[in-house]
Amino acid sequence: MTINRRSFLARSGALGAASFAAMHLAMPRAYAQTEDGTISIALAARSPNGINPQQSGLTGGDNWALYQVFNALVASKPGTFAVTPEDFQPALAESWEVSEDARTWTYHLRRGVQFHKGYGEMTSKDVMFTYGRQLDPEIVSAGKVLFGNIESIDAPDDYTFVVTLVRPDPLFNASTAVTLAASIICQAAFEEKGEAFNLDPVGTGAYYVESTDESGINLTAFDEHWNGPAATRNIRVSFIADTTARTLAFASGQVDMIEGVRQPGWIPAMRQRDANTIFDATAPGSFNTLHLNLQREPLDNIKVRQAFRYAIDNSQIAEAYGELSTPMVGIIAPQFAGSVTKEELPEELKYEPSIDKAKELLAEAGFPDGVTIPCFTSQREDYATIMLMIQEQLRAAGINLDLNIIDHATMHAENNTDKNSLTLNSSSFPPVPTMPFLQRLAASADTKPDGSGQGNYSHYGVAIPGIDDLLDQAQDEPDFDNRIEVIKQIEEKVLTDLPLLGIITLSYVIARNPRVDLGFEVQSGYAYWPLNQARITG
């Protein structure tokens, strides 16, 4: 085919005209709202990475879909965290027993639970398969660390599953069995589908995956669900990474629920637009804590650390976030067992905010003219905002933070190679009181310059004696109440040494159109909740 000038220009023109004509023709029929018994939720992520609970790299949006598609052995009451052993409810396990030493957990599985898409009944073989993959060191999977205390698993019959632990754990349901990583997957489907399982999973949840596309996941109610069919036929989990685009999608009614923005002023601004919008927030949400590097001057000086504690007013920071935040006293969120309150602490550990006291301590430490500390934090909205507030509060006491705000992945990489003097950390922990200490303050989690260490950026237990003995004691304690008592001792020890300062909790928040009734009130819990009772009322 030869192209000459005339045909080149003519064809280009025709193509342009055809495109515009198509656009006009398309307009009336392509614009459709969600109104056909579908509840639509938009999360802050780009596209589905997978709906396999053991897959690494899952986003918050993937987790929402996962939670509807899979079940674990136990569950917490919708909209809450199960904080004590008694708070757990049966799910795929109808009942369970724990040995006196809290090392052997026996689960009695519910009979007749069906997998999606005709894969038959769930039995202990599927549970063994699920836990077995998490215990296999040759398989890279999400949440593997949660299975680290398991010594062995066994299935004496089709409906019994037994877990033996290395160390006692009266909260095994919270630390492992209830988590997304312990969602029961169908062995037959997993083996049959291979990699395709990631986007076409088979679980036992109230919804099954109908289809996925580049911007979302379509779920349909599973009529044979063991807890009865879901109230609404379809759920659309959309992925809208950009905050503005997500907010506009909600404001226009295109989606019913969106992941909120954890920024001061976001909720009031949304309420100004529509006072009827409902905000579902999980308390506590993330723990925001400030690591002080005990191997760096002047933070190796306890008086300087105390000056930090007196200068930072947690209540003021929490107030800026309004209903999304609570001030922390220790390292455990105030909503969880093991946390301490100011009232129960001795006077010297209450640290009532006082700039004068902070200046006095700084002078006693040999810094009457103040100190300058270089540090960096992430550009992620919650990190940057909280650190800027801390910077302002410390400035008043003569502590000048020479703060750099950098890319989030870079911040983690630099923190992991021990390059920061003080670092804010935002982590979500389940109500397992040993977990924050094990991950953030145990000597075994010490951060190493070569990056081979873990999240103890303070070097607590390495630079100065830490809480390792108390942690051992807590981990060997089979009784829940006794364990909590040890945890409170740990809290006091940390408040004495101040390697890590609790700042605020920050809730995960979803804005909801009042036409959607969830069927329960969201009070606490993970950053996702069940939608099987949700219905459209308006």
Binding site: G50, V140, Q254, A409, T410, A413
Partner: protein, 311 residues
């Protein structure tokens, strides 16, 4: 012409190779551990090590480099470190949206920009010329992400004429979804092409053969479109090529604002997640487009101006 195309393609090899090397080096210099990003900060050191081993991240850098170059030559784009999806699949899903946006935005830019330029040139220093000048200034001055948000609020949110986000499914719905994002990108393109057309046309309209055409009694329309605009097309084509490349890179911000699937948005996320294979493949695709568009411009020169063909 075939020889010219082949020569151009051979010329492009060192460019693409240089881009590949720069991307590879830049990614390895950039702090951030892909294993940590993929597995989260609760991952055990053993899991991180296993992940690095499985993904080839703990090989010596030179070895990783040669494997990367070989994979690119054999069109093996690898798998995403985050989702484990084949990168070719990620590109295949997202690239058409970016191409579609670029083509429609460029089409709109030409459709609006060239007539505006003609209008300005034929009414030099009069009201239409001044009007086009003001429009061009505004077009240049407004950042596209701001204009995009503005259009989104007015036409999608308040008037409800367009969808808030997404890329559409069938052809019609895709064209409907692309309209506002393309209009946003077309604004600066219209301003640019309008100014370029005006300048080129004014220069041509002052030439002897135009005066001769007028002296022979040719109608003004014929003088402008047949003798003027056709001869002014060469610089406009160059400008169009450059603007096409600018649109391709400008699509990144617009895809974010309109929450459209696309290569730009994919790359931004991949950079945040240190997803090396996706970033590398994306950079190669962009480099390929630069080469391809330059080639198209060269071919267009030949089609438009027979003198170049003879040379």
């Amino acid at each position: 012409m075939l020889r010219m195309i082949l020569l151009r393609l051979v010329d492009a090899i060192p460019t693409v190779l240089l881009v590949l090397t720069l991307v590879f080096v830049a990614l390895r210099i950039l702090p951030g551990d892909p294993a940590q990003v993929a597995l989260g900060d609760m991952a055990t050191p053993e899991q991180l090590e296993l992940f690095r081993e499985q993904m080839g991240l703990n090989m010596p850098l030179w070895q990783q480099y040669f494997i990367f170059i070989w994979d690119m030559l054999t069109l093996n784009l690898g798998r995403s470190l985050v989702s484990n999806t084949p990168v070719a699949q990620i590109i295949a899903v997202n690239l058409p949206y970016t191409i579609e946006l670029t083509i429609v935005a460029t089409g709109m830019g030409v459709l609006f920009g060239v007539p505006l330029g003609v209008l300005a040139a034929t009414n030099r220093n009069k009201l239409p010329d001044n009007g086009v000048r003001v429009f061009s200034l505004i077009g240049y001055a407004i950042p596209d992400f701001y204009l995009g948000a503005l259009l989104l609020i007015v036409f999608a949110l308040n008037l409800g004429w367009f969808p808030i986000n997404g890329g559409g499914t069938d052809f019609a719905s895709r064209m409907y979804h692309v309209f506002l994002p393309a209009l946003t990108l077309a604004m600066v393109k219209t301003a640019f092409l309008g100014r370029l057309t005006r300048t080129s046309l004014l220069e041509v309209l002052g030439r002897d053969y135009v005066r001769t055409a007028r002296a022979k009694g040719a109608r003004e329309g014929r003088v402008i479109y047949r003798h003027g605009l056709r001869n002014a097309l060469l610089p406009i084509t160059t400008g169009l090529g450059l603007s096409l490349l600018a649109t391709l890179s400008g699509s990144v911000a617009i895809e974010m604002v309109f929450n459209r699937p696309g290569l730009g948005e994919t790359l931004i996320s991949a950079i945040a997640e240190r997803d090396y294979p996706v970033i590398q493949a994306g950079a190669v695709i962009f480099a390929f487009f630069v080469v391809f568009i330059n080639l198209l411009i060269d071919i267009a020169y030949i089609v438009i101006d027979p003198r170049i063909r003879v040379q």
